[in-house]
């Protein structure tokens, strides 16, 4: 199956790490349930236009951390993972997203106080719209 992975040309994060994080988020968010078959290293490399060396590194790290498993001759599959681990990924994804937003603001010379005001404004406007989703899914 094709994975909805998008590599950023602007990110300072190494490519293998971007792949790792996005696959983890898909697993933690339930979009890739346990047992789902993942594309082979060669197929994913073609889709993402990267070398098999990079893709293999991402898969090896994911396997080492217990998110996927490889069965000789059969392929690579999403592993069964504990709820606490899913939680960990979700928390780190949220932190990461907010960290990036704060970095953007700092790059534009905002003070921490100004950033907090913006943050509160966004929260308030979302609450007013009722637009925040509370079902635990990540978009």
């Amino acid at each position: 199956m094709e994975l909805p992975i998008r590599l950023s040309k602007e990110s300072r994060e190494p490519i293998y790490h971007q792949i790792e994080e996005q696959i983890k988020a898909l697993i933690a968010g339930g979009q890739l349930p346990a047992g789902t078959s993942l594309p082979s290293i060669r197929v994913l490399s073609k889709e993402l236009e990267i070398s098999v060396i990079t893709t293999r590194r991402a898969y090896q790290n994911l396997e080492y951390q217990g998110f996927i498993r490889t069965t000789q001759g059969k392929g690579t599959f999403v592993a069964e993972i504990e709820a606490s681990k899913k939680e960990e990924v979700t928390v780190s994804a949220v932190y990461h997203a907010i960290e990036k937003a704060v970095e953007t603001a700092l790059r534009h010379d905002y003070t921490l106080e100004q950033i907090e005001v913006v943050f509160q404004e966004i929260i308030a406007s979302l609450e007013k719209k009722g637009g925040h989703n509370n079902d635990g899914k990540m978009d």
Binding site: K9, E10, R12, P14, I15, S40, R42, V43, S45, K46, E49, I50, S51, V52, I53, T54, R107
Partner: protein, 288 residues
């Protein structure tokens, strides 16, 4: 660690006043390498030397760990080579060519051949000389891929092909790589071949090897910066080009960024370059 299947040491070859090498180069099982360079860079000469269609003046070539010489030719059955042009075939039709080639290769995969013929709608009863360049190329490919050799060497396989045929070939090659331990060397001017297939890029210029790079080794280094303000025209570490007063191109992101940071120069956006832009910088001599 992947096994080195092809090892080239101190290779040198003179053809008239052109000199290839001296160069050292190796290729590992399980990988696809794209050879790129200007016209006349020596890509085809290198492939011909590998296939013993030309003999080097100096240096040695090892295949599967064995030195190759003209005496023992067993290795030839483990390599399938697709030249740019196939000579001496004009009066044969596809069926006859298949018969000739398949006898030579014990690993001949008839179902694969048939699938490619069907996919590319290749007429097997028409004489080779009467086929268009694109169809000739498709037939050559079917005859080469179906040998199911360990090593596949393709010299500009898609040069005359239409867009859908090129796309189909990408999938065929990916599938072919998954048949087991395989190695592909592809010489190509097509950016898409390089982006979608290559693990490594070998860059050649005027007979010389500029280097063999893992693809992300290049895309991780070359970056373009949109600066916050006008940047005076003084040398900046890593910077190889300025597209205008505010766009810098660097071949070493780390060096450039630490310099810019030390001068408190900010950028609005930094982006990696496309592989074809990087290759262009290397070939026009700005990045080597």
């Amino acid at each position: 660690m992947m096994e080195k299947w092809i090892e080239i040491n101190r290779l040198k070859k003179n053809v008239d006043d052109f000199q290839l090498g001296p160069m050292d180069l190796s290729f590992e099982a399980g990988t696809i390498t794209a050879i790129v360079g200007n016209n006349g860079a020596g890509k085809s000469t290198l492939l011909k030397v590998l296939m013993r269609l030309a003999v080097q003046d100096e240096g040695e070539i090892k295949l599967f760990g064995q030195l190759i010489d003209s005496e023992a030719e067993g290795w030839k059955k483990r390599i399938a080579y697709l030249p740019q042009t196939l000579l001496g075939c004009d009066s044969f039709n596809g069926n006859q060519l298949r018969e000739l080639v398949s006898k030579w290769y014990p690993t001949w995969d008839q179902p694969l051949f048939e699938r490619l013929v069907k996919m590319y709608q290749i007429p097997l009863t028409k004489k080779y000389g009467k086929l268009s360049q694109g169809v000739q190329q498709k037939l050559n490919l079917a005859l080469t891929l179906a040998r199911d050799a360990d090593i596949l060497i393709l010299d500009e396989p898609t040069a005359h092909m239409d867009i859908p045929s090129k796309q189909m070939l990408l999938d065929v090659i990916v599938e072919w790589m998954e048949r087991g331990d395989k190695l592909i060397i592809i010489s190509s001017h097509q950016a898409e071949d390089i982006r979608k297939l290559a693990d490594y890029v070998v860059v050649m210029k005027e007979g010389q090897l500029l280097g063999k790079f893992e693809k992300e080794e290049l895309t991780g280094q070359f970056k373009q910066y949109w600066m916050d303000e006008f940047i005076p025209n003084e040398p900046i570490p890593g910077v190889i080009d300025r597209k205008n007063e505010r766009i810098l191109v660097s071949k070493c992101a780390e060096e450039t960024e630490s310099y810019l940071a030390s001068k408190q120069l900010k950028w609005l956006r930094a982006e990696t370059l496309e592989i074809e832009e990087i290759i262009t910088y290397m070939l026009i001599g700005k990045a080597s």
